[in-house]
Symmetry: C2
Subunit: 139 residues, 2 copies
Amino acid sequence: MFDCLKLENQLCFPLYAASKEVIRKYKPFLDKLDLTYTQYIVMLVLWENENVNVKELGEKLFLDSGTLTPLLKKIEDKGYIIRNKSEYDERNLVISLTKDGKILKRKALDVPKGISKCVNLTNEEAMTLYNILYKILKK
Amino acid sequence: MFDCLKLENQLCFPLYAASKEVIRKYKPFLDKLDLTYTQYIVMLVLWENENVNVKELGEKLFLDSGTLTPLLKKIEDKGYIIRNKSEYDERNLVISLTKDGKILKRKALDVPKGISKCVNLTNEEAMTLYNILYKILKK
DNA sequence: CATAATTAAATTGTACACAATTTAATTTGT
DNA sequence: ACAAATTAAATTGTGTACAATTTAATTATG
């Protein structure tokens, strides 16, 4: 019964470790874009939908304003986004891409290509993993 | 082709988000033990093998001394472990459980029980997930 | 056998995470 | 209308992560 306290037997641990390992593999690719991993996933959201506010971003990425506010300021300093108060509701901060931010999308296309070669899973395994993970994330 | 840059289609993201979600589910259980998640996985290692040094701990947990040194000092402050230089090689810091640290193992048995009810995966799904994650982690 | 190379922790500096609180703007209820 | 409740970001404080450097101890080598 004590076995349930083995590190190996707890799902949380391989999940946490694999997540960090995969993010580590992204690093060399993201360095070329001058983005950290978290900054990259923010950019992914913006490349999909222009003009997102902090709350929407947080819901999509499972992050709160305590994480996002300083993060967004850094991406703004790099010149990829602009932060503006909404004219309809000044509580909302609307994030938009700059020209450089849009251009960056083209360079970012290399990232998924490179990564798929690094993570040694079959397509089927990746698909299965993907489905189970989204089941965990489903509310 | 631009679809490969969709947040949803990148394995890294559900992996990272699911990892954080699962860790979030541990929190109420770990609060009762006065441990954070990372402190908990350190304790898991120590409950399995007494007298581990920082390097071994780092290899098992995929963490480095920059993370572990302050973490271990905090667990020591809580009274669960002791940090001592090895008498055979003073470069090594040996981590041992205190009496309280050993007693805590008993209380920790409730954690995996509680968690399995929170994560809504079938046994088969959990097993599949487990295997794919360890494939990612295998060197 | 003394110096160079290696190794293990610790330190430094940057970047998240997230709980809890604060601030400012907008809605609600009377 | 207007005070109370709600909402969205920002702020504050604690706790990781991890790259890069430093320090101290040990081992390898000329």
